[in-house]
Assembly symmetry: C2
Homo-oligomer: 436 residues x 2
Amino acid sequence: MREPLRIAVAGLGTVGLEVVRLLRDKRDMLADRAGRPLDVVAVSARDRTRDRGLDLSGYTWFDDAAAMAAEAPCDLVVEVIGGSDGTAKEVCAQALSAGRHVVTANKALLAMRGEELAPLADQAGRTIACEAAVAGGIPIVKGLREGLSANRVSTVFGILNGTCNYILTRMEATGQDFAQILTEAQELGYAEADPAFDVDGVDAAHKLAILAAIAFNARIEFGSLTIEGIRSVSAADIMFARELGYRIKLIGLAEYIEGNPEPQLALRVGPALVPKDGPLARIDGVLNAVVVDGHAADRIMMVGAGAGGGPTASAIVADILDIARGQTSPVFGVPTGGLAEMAVQPIAERNGPYYIRAQVVDRPGVLAELSAILRDEDVSVESLIQRGRSANEPVALVIVTHDVDEAAISRAMAKITAIDSVLQAPTVFRIEPSLG
Amino acid sequence: MREPLRIAVAGLGTVGLEVVRLLRDKRDMLADRAGRPLDVVAVSARDRTRDRGLDLSGYTWFDDAAAMAAEAPCDLVVEVIGGSDGTAKEVCAQALSAGRHVVTANKALLAMRGEELAPLADQAGRTIACEAAVAGGIPIVKGLREGLSANRVSTVFGILNGTCNYILTRMEATGQDFAQILTEAQELGYAEADPAFDVDGVDAAHKLAILAAIAFNARIEFGSLTIEGIRSVSAADIMFARELGYRIKLIGLAEYIEGNPEPQLALRVGPALVPKDGPLARIDGVLNAVVVDGHAADRIMMVGAGAGGGPTASAIVADILDIARGQTSPVFGVPTGGLAEMAVQPIAERNGPYYIRAQVVDRPGVLAELSAILRDEDVSVESLIQRGRSANEPVALVIVTHDVDEAAISRAMAKITAIDSVLQAPTVFRIEPSLG
């Protein structure tokens, strides 16, 4: 058996501890599979005195994670500190400069700083492995980069945030609104005290940016993504969507659009109506799912736990095993210099159907006024539901449109919001029929 | 860019041609991803004169595939001839002896002769890559061997044969019986003229044997699998199953059973009742799905097209790309010498619930007689449906049991079959509640 692979772990939160535990508990099995032992040699966290319920005395302790990455006698650094800048970035840069591989669960780092870090890896002849950064224990990074490497991918989409999916699932099951279920999710540990990263779609967008870079071998500018979260989804929307044959999910979608003269990428995260018989409609609770449409393989879906210590550690240790076997790939599937520069479709040009819910005071003429605005903007209505019937009480007016550019929807909504009898800006969600 | 990887293709049926076409049509994309061109240099099939709708004039032609494997100046041989012996086996043996890698879609070969061939690969320092042998375009071999390599797998199960799944789906949709739908499937090209391999469960068993070897790093004796097909499933069974909250699917299942003193593997393929809300119940038509329960990653499911030229070629070319990148793994995850010898649980010891349908003449006392037999064998009844009520007409008696050993069920069925009023041997299917 070959010499051990020496591992340093930066960050000892839930995931970091689970990585250390997994490497220790399954040491023999992993050595058999890797062809060599996988040995933790050093660890780092901010507070050395804290009792973490795990004996760490056999490993060299570093208070300074970046110093560990540079100086510990190791082959590989696991970065599970988190954050797109500061220590996490420094740890990765130091590790690569010192000729160590990096294994990370840090989606923000990859999505925001991947462009800086990946060339460092290429230069050092090392890799930044990031299976754990997308969809937890689901081996989608490997699946996309290697398992589906023969495919020209047309679309990759999915449910990429378990917190949002849990909240939407519970809103549908209980009929309660976002705020109530968010509190429940926080109590259960499915949502952070500050939930913004999850519920505003940022976390899903980080993952989507990584998936898109791999799927299309393209340089993804994170700022070019359209990102919306789920705070605007109400229990009423979920109910209306169901009535119309859809479910509302937070969807991340990256699509290759053949263009004239140049192709474009559509890159968006937001609540969307998906067909109730489609593959994503039945992915409930904290599960994640990723679907890839490839020209040869057709549609492939992968489902599993998108977060948590065990699943994330599973992905990290799988990456470690690959490195131990000498099987490393460029971070985004091709060397950084080979990544394509692709235009991103402005969201205003997204063409498709929309769901619109306006709260209106039920006075004569409101519907006529609203219909005229839609007509003037060439927005054609496929179906309409009006619910609530006491005079002068607000009623919900729900409209499903035919395919139309998002720009026309935006113009129409500005005008509709200005109508006196319309109580607030209407709620608008994309309908994604092609995900069915 | 490095020197080209030279490829010889043995077999020019649908899959072989699709491989050649994919390598040609996506040549630049594949070269970018592989870091080197992937060049077909030689092809072989029985009939050189046949028009295959593809220009093959640029490749050296061999009438003798084994000679090509031995003599063509290539780095890798794609074997898509099929069959567990004869030419296919000879091609693989010759290729490995000559120091070429093998990429194959041949599940029979791997399941039946893997034990002979894998050591040849180990000795030659080459690999037999077999992503295409299991579940078509779904990257489950890679997912299991690499993506989930950090996991002690407890169970791997799934829908591994698209023909059977199509037939069962259509039987449920139409209420028609097996024979009628088989004819339909044959007309649509979803079933072979001789459907035995598919409908008798042999094809699914080949795939299960490969998955089990990888999941458990164990030597799998193909003869140790329990294999049943779907000919015994009737439209009535599908209807009763639905009434009871289940769907009937052809399930392949490999389970690690902690034992005293030694662990065992359960290895079986057969029609089974799975919970209607479980992950497999909604996999319809020709789709395949594989579920892996890992100790760290939890439950991961992969779904996709299990057959067809495009999906199979997708898997083959992904394997070729891995080899071009120098990323090869032992066939079953660890070197052949390291595969564990594990006992297989005799099917008589399978413990779980069962579905039983007996056709009985509705005479007084039949139910009492039948119940007494079940009681004597300690088979406890969870629910019972009796349907059909005209005197002296055959009626269906459907029983769902509590957990019981299969041996007791077999003994009880032998006695029940001997009852005069029971018209034929009852239909018995396993219920697999843990797959829900």
